[in-house]
């Protein structure tokens, strides 16, 4: 790999730009591809789009030999609504699992840099924050506040998005009340069913860190299975 390609690849990753590194295996020639931008042969761009969409690299037989296409998508995102105790270990576990983590909470005593070192914090109201963050199919959203004023608008925004995982902290009873409120607000049964509530895998988690593990495990299961 030429040093300038390595540098460009690292820059693309820092700027969260999707890119495919294509390598011709017969001689090691390399190209960076940015679909849908078409600067290379059509077949190469088509396969590049496909590996980005599936997030899986593969070897393809080209007219001029075998090529290996390796996709570098921007990181998965994890949006946590509620800078509560559980959010502290969960934000760190999310970051460790490769997610770009954002914690949303308008209560600045909760969303403080002391409580969340190195984590991106947003102190906007959840509906504004969610509009700005625009969750996509590579985003997980978890509400943790227990406060309907904060959780519900975030959930409604998440349900309007293609987020691959939506979770809401709260007991079965709390969740039933939440679903009733969301139904009242016009959310359909199918949409409400997208919410993982009570959130997390049932592993008997008690402490905030254990609950964070159960949530991170459920997000991983949803992503990978």
């Amino acid at each position: 790999m030429d040093a300038h390609i390595l540098k460009k690849l690292v820059d693309d990753r820092a700027e969260k730009r999707a890119v495919v590194l294509a390598t011709r295996l017969t001689d090691g020639i390399q190209k960076l591809l940015y679909p849908p931008e078409i600067k290379e042969e059509k077949w190469l761009i088509e396969v590049a789009s496909e590996v980005l969409a599936s997030d899986k690299g593969r070897v393809v037989e080209g007219p001029d030999g075998d090529w290996f296409l390796n996709p570098f998508n921007p990181p998965l995102r994890l949006i946590l609504v509620g800078a509560v105790h559980i959010a502290q270990p969960l934000a760190r576990m999310g970051a460790l699992s490769g997610y770009d983590v954002t914690v949303v909470d308008p209560r600045t005593s909760f969303a403080s840099a002391e409580r969340f070192p190195d984590i991106h914090l947003l102190t906007d109201w959840p509906d504004e924050a969610m509009a700005a963050l625009a969750p996509d199919a590579r985003t997980a959203v978890v509400t943790l506040t227990h406060d309907p004023k904060l959780d519900d608008p975030a959930l409604q925004a998440a349900l309007r998005s293609p987020a691959f995982y939506i979770g809401a902290l709260g007991s079965k009873k709390t969740h039933a009340a939440r679903v009733a409120r969301l139904t009242e607000a016009g959310i359909g049964e199918q949409d409400n069913a997208r919410i993982h509530g009570p959130v997390g895998l049932a592993i008997g988690a008690k402490s905030p860190a254990e609950i964070a593990i159960s949530i991170m495990a459920q997000i991983t299961e949803t992503l990978r299975k």
Binding site: A3, R13, L25, G28, K56, R58
Partner: protein, 111 residues
Amino acid sequence: MSDPATNHDNVLEEAARWQAEGRKVALATVIETWGSAPRPVGSQLAIRDDATFVGSVSGGCIEGDVVTRALDTLETGKPEVLEYGVSDAMAWEVGLACGGRIRVMVEPVKG
């Protein structure tokens, strides 16, 4: 968080940092897997000229050999594709105990 111990996914960033420090660097990338392979296609290892490495291309079974072969490419200047299969423990062969088979590309970073 630029500590390599916590930044285990930032293999390319580490490679670029070593390169910028004037070190010689090689990369190894899993390009194909069959059966039960420990790390998916695209997994990478960055290797510095003193054999320090970050990342992984297996569960640790073949890294030793991959590091050696990657360092060889610093001499030849040419990329290579290596193949690893089921290990034969009796023969002390380098391989994958899990029964999978993988192909790994090793390449030098050229300044």
